[in-house]
């Protein structure tokens, strides 16, 4: 059989790795496709590298791509579908059960750009009725032809979609199209919180996979999925914790992480950014409240919220260690062993609200929390937290104050958590693994006929109302890339009349500036007949020489705004940067400008893979950027300042004088060819569009370019040292 697994981001695949492996071992073929491209290698979480490792273990059996199609904007329904889904997810939060969940409501409001007024009524019957309308509105959206083509091409026996429930997710498209093509389809609910604090299921999948009976009831009551179609198989991602055995003893592990082996330790498991954005400050407060302890503390940062721990200083607390400081996703043998040892050897486990508390229960640890006002919205203000409470059959020791909590911890020890673990993680029995049950069900479903799409009177009515809107939108569908680029050019043409035209301000990284912005300006100058003397370049960090051929004048933002401000803006969000751009234009008193945002819109189709290099060639004019004097010696990127720094003088100087630049394929190495410097790109996962454009630029400018794996650098250097050409 062939299974198509549609995953939003690769991190969600981690939850299903045991399922995929077992499917492959049973002789099935699996193709995985990502809706938003796999998380980059090197980032925390199950990354492209891990997906590739999985595929490598089953060559030709597990395959993947990162080009899962979305709905074609030209069909007119894309915007409508997005709104329907965003509002559909928002209305669930109008139910009184979310009255004490202001953070969840706030998040749904932000994502949908909906109105707070909706929560004013907070009436259960009205909320249920609205949920029904949202369900029929989803039914009213026709299946996407583009996704149907993709499904026909892969011809799977079953489509499994996960996590589906992200707010406003477009993943329902796959369920809809699979149903239309009579392909059995199912939803994998990725975690214990997904059914209560994210979006809703509004399709009619053939099955919804959950962990336990409590989630079955949630699927029924909160998502209107009939109980017979909700399958509680347990949590496949936790199977490994039941079978794992330690490979280090306590003393060796304590020595490895830097704890005193003479004392037991409490493990503090950190939570996600949404749950605890300012966790280091809380942990300091928590440690202070614990006072003199007879145990050490191991703080384990959340892999997706570890950034704040890099600079956290807990050295004033004795026998406290943050490990691993950069956070570590549990994706390979080493990280799994580390995490398991952290749990196993702890005296007790403390956390705010995280699935690590469940993992701790699996290895028989007592789990503790303190209800802190800082986390009111993300502890009791979330529905899934209540699953862990003792009154609901959970195992969590809850303290109302830090003092009470400290007393609980002092008396903590291993506990019998089996009843909770069985009911929550392994409903078929403590000894029954979840992954085989999951796979059995997938095989059964793939053999059954799919449920065909259902239309109700209300969904027909909604379709009738929305179809004319879609037809109108179809005629306003985005222009093809070339047409849009030509249109942008023509709209800019009116700046010609001005004697002083600001180009910029540039407030982004050097790679984009050199690869896209400067060649685009060259093209515009030629195409619109702009004089060099008319143009004033505005950039930062002393790159005047890069603009010398194009612009008559150069203004440096470091001087205009100050270096610290520029540094802050380089890592700021879009609105802040846009405000800064407006401020700069005001300061310069300019009435005419060519904004980088035009260039970004023009090349967006290329950068997202919808247009070829030939399209970029049509709208750029290449030339070696900056002074081209005598060059000597090689410059290693490591010797330069990193990107996103306000001071780029060293970069400019080095690039102008170097004979060769050795740099990252994911960073500054990419600018070498444009600057006329022979470049050795050192392989790292990088933007395919940027890498291709860099290689193409090198070819057009006649600049030699090499692409080497980091492991080959010594051979390259040795060879360079021995050859005399």
């Amino acid at each position: 059989m062939k299974f198509l697994v549609v995953v939003w981001r690769s991190k969600y695949l981690q939850n299903y790795e045991p399922v995929l492996r077992l499917l492959a071992q049973r002789g099935h073929r699996i193709h995985v496709t990502f809706s938003e491209g796999p998380t980059r290698a090197g980032s925390k979480g199950f990354s492209a590298h891990d997906v590739e490792r999985l595929a490598h273990d089953f060559p030709g059996v597990i395959t993947w791509d990162d080009t899962a199609p979305g709905r074609d904007p030209a069909d007119g329904w894309l915007g409508i579908a997005n709104r329907v889904r965003a509002y559909g997810d928002l209305v669930r939060y109008s139910h009184p059960r979310y009255r004490n969940a202001p953070l969840l409501r706030g998040r749904a409001l932000r994502r949908s750009r909906g109105s707070q007024l909706l929560f004013g009524w907070s009436n259960a019957r009205l909320a249920d009725w609205l949920r029904g309308v949202a369900r029929d509105a989803e039914r009213a959206i026709p299946s996407s032809g583009r996704i149907e083509d993709y499904l026909r091409h892969h011809a799977p026996d079953l489509v499994l979609v996960t996590p589906l429930l992200d707010l406003g997710s477009a993943q329902p498209e796959f369920l809809k199209s699979a149903a239309k093509l009579a392909i059995p389809n199912a939803v994998g609910v990725a975690s214990w919180d997904n059914l209560t604090n994210k979006g809703t299921i509004r399709n009619d999948p053939d099955a919804v996979f959950v962990w336990n009976e409590a989630q079955r009831r949630e699927a029924d009551e909160l998502h209107d999925v009939p109980l017979e179609r909700v399958l509680a198989t347990g949590a496949p991602k936790f199977d490994e914790w039941f079978a794992r055995r330690p490979t280090l003893d306590f003393a060796a592990f304590a020595a490895k992480v830097g704890l005193d082996p003479a004392q037991p330790y409490v493990l503090y498991v950190c939570s996600s950014y949404f749950v605890a954005s300012e966790e280091p400050a809380f942990v300091e407060r928590w440690l202070e409240a614990l006072g003199e302890r007879e145990f050490g503390v191991l703080v384990r940062p959340h892999p997706e919220n570890a950034k704040r721990w890099r600079t956290a200083d807990l050295s004033r607390f004795p026998n406290v260690v943050v490990y691993p400081r950069d956070g570590a996703a549990v994706v390979d043998e080493a990280s799994r062993a580390d995490y398991f040892h952290s749990l196993l050897y702890s005296k007790a486990v403390v956390g705010i609200n995280t699935s690590a508390l469940i993992e701790a229960a699996i290895v028989g640890k007592g789990v503790y929390t303190v209800l802190d006002p800082q986390f009111g919205g993300t502890q009791e203000g979330t529905l899934h937290f209540h699953h862990l409470l003792r009154e609901n059959g959970g195992v969590l020791h809850v303290a109302r104050s830090l003092e009470e909590h400290a007393a609980q911890l002092a008396a903590a020890g291993d506990e019998d958590t089996r009843a909770f673990v069985e009911s929550f993680v392994r409903p078929a029995g403590l000894d029954v693994e979840a992954a085989p049950l999951f796979v059995d069900e997938l095989e059964r479903l793939a053999m059954q006929p799919a449920r065909l799409p259902v239309a109700t009177a209300r969904s027909r009515l909604i379709h009738g109302a929305l179809a004319p809107v879609a037809v109108r939108r179809r005629s306003r569908a985005p222009l093809p890339p070339r047409t849009a680029a030509k249109q942008a050019e023509l709209l800019l043409a009116s700046v010609r009349r001005h004697s002083r035209i600001v180009v910029g301000p540039w407030l982004r990284d050097s790679v984009e500036e050199v690869l896209y912005w400067l060649p685009y300006l060259g093209h515009l100058r030629e195409e619109l007949g702009l004089e060099r003397s008319q143009l004033v370049a505005v950039s930062y960090g002393g790159v005047a020489s890069w603009y010398e051929d194009l612009c008559g004048d150069y203004v440096d933002l470091n001087e205009l705004l100050g270096e610290d401000t520029v540094e802050g803006l380089l890592v700021s969000r879009v609105p802040e940067r846009e405000r800064a751009e407006a401020l700069v234009l005001e300061k310069l008193g300019s009435h005419a400008a060519i904004s980088p945002s035009v260039m970004r819109r023009v090349f967006a189709p290329y950068r997202r893979g919808d247009a070829a290099i030939g399209f970029v060639a049509e709208f750029t004019k290449l030339g070696r950027i900056g002074p081209q004097g005598e060059r000597c010696g090689a410059v290693d990127e490591a010797a330069l300042l990193g990107d996103r720094r306000a001071d780029r003088a060293e970069l400019v100087r080095a690039a102008a004088g170097a004979e060769r630049l050795v740099g990252s394929a994911a960073g500054l190495g990419l600018i070498g060819p444009s600057l006329g410097v022979e470049t050795v790109l050192v392989g790292e996962e990088s933007s395919e569009a940027d890498l291709d454009l860099c290689a193409w630029t090198a070819l057009q400018l006649g600049v030699p370019l090499s692409f080497v794996d980091r492991s080959e650098l010594p051979l390259l250097r040795e060879l360079a040292g021995t050859i005399r050409r």
Partner: protein, 361 residues
């Protein structure tokens, strides 16, 4: 000779009225109006898309015909470069998911293992024509079709297909000729359509090595250096190869893939006598030369050679490649690199492409 030529798309000279229209609009101050209401209505669509859509339509028709019958299917004959066969042809056929029991792959050099899971039948061109005749026919074909790529079914292709059908008792087979795929991808090589459009038609996966055992060292570096347009015959390149092999040979024995089979335009780089190398494949028969090279590559710790198809073959077996290239590269070569990276990633390895200028002192 490196064959990177691709056919020109039909209506390349579409409407180019825009500069004229802009000047007119500009003189009347109507540019914003023209931008909003005229430009979107101009026929600026890329003619390359017409070429691709035509090729996609023809492929769909051909597949519909193939799937509506139970007749055997001959895929090939593949007579061109190893690189294009590995990067595109094999992944293309794999993505089509034809019934392998109906498929006979036709290629050369004993590469049946490359088609594992795609075709249960395999016919080697060298079973039908001798090495000399193959070389002669191929050079005629290259002149005839203006390059190595089989953009149409040439006389030699026909002759091979008839002979294969006859010898294998294939009654009225469907033929899926490489031209179907080459037309589909030609606009990609011309930088006119994005990679995503090509990837729809490729299922990239590692290869399984042929089940043949050779007398080879336990660990070794495989190597093959030949001159070509992107690695010309000059004293510097000759010296570089000698020096590289000498460096590699310090840690592990170097096994050269040279076979002595001369069927393409690749002239071997002479190896200085003082450099120790093993040449276990010298004198092998043409019909097994690529199979045996595959065995050597699959068992190697790494591969070093001229940038070309063998780098990708090594990668497909999970073996890292270190390839030399004298700039400039070619435009289609850049496009091949994007697929090559995917092959390497799929097999958990890497490809380093090193400009010869990067190792000059």
């Amino acid at each position: 000779m490196t064959d990177d030529r691709v056919p020109k798309s039909g209506s390349a000279a579409r409407l180019h009225l825009l500069p004229l229209a802009r000047r007119a609009a500009g003189s009347l101050g109507l540019e914003p109006f023209a931008a909003r209401y005229v430009v979107p209505r101009l026929p600026l669509a890329d003619p390359s898309l017409d070429v691709v859509r035509g090729a996609e339509r023809r492929l769909a028709e051909q597949l519909a015909e193939i799937r509506s019958s139970n007749r055997p299917i001959v895929v090939g004959p593949w007579l061109a470069e190893v690189g294009i066969e590995l990067l595109y042809w094999v992944p293309f056929l794999r993505a089509l998911r034809l019934d392998p029991s109906r498929v006979v792959a036709v290629s050369r050099g004993g590469v049946d293992s490359w088609y594992a899971g795609i075709a249960e039948g395999y016919a080697d061109v060298f079973e039908h024509v001798g090495e000399d005749e193959f070389r002669k026919e191929l050079s005629h074909s290259w002149i005839d079709q203006e390059g190595q790529k089989q953009y149409r079914v040439g006389d030699f292709d026909r002759r091979v297909l008839v002979s294969v059908a006859k010898r294998n008792g294939l009654a009225n087979p469907h033929v899926l000729h490489p031209s179907t795929m080459l037309m589909l991808f030609s606009e990609y090589w011309r930088n006119r359509i994005p990679l995503a459009r090509v990837l729809r038609y490729l299922d990239i996966a590692p290869l399984t090595p042929p089940a043949v055992s050779l007398d080879l060292p336990e660990r070794y570096v495989a190597a093959r250096f030949y001159f070509r347009e992107t690695f010309p015959d000059d004293a510097a390149n000759r010296a570089l190869v000698g020096q590289l092999l000498e460096l590699l040979g310090r840690d592990l024995p170097v096994v050269l893939l040279d076979t002595g089979v001369n069927i393409d335009d690749h002239e071997q780089v002479p190896i200085p006598p003082e450099v120790e190398v093993l040449r276990p494949l010298l004198g092998v028969r043409a019909e097994e030369n690529l199979r045996l090279q595959s065995v050597v590559l699959a068992g190697a710790d790494s591969f070093a050679g001229t940038y070309g198809g063998l780098c990708y073959l090594a990668n497909a077996y999970g073996v890292p490649s270190f390839a030399l290239l004298t700039p400039p590269a070619s435009e289609p070569g850049l496009r091949h690199g994007a697929i090559g990276r995917r092959i390497a990633t799929s097999a958990g390895t890497h490809l380093s492409i090193v400009s010869t200028t990067a190792v000059s002192a």
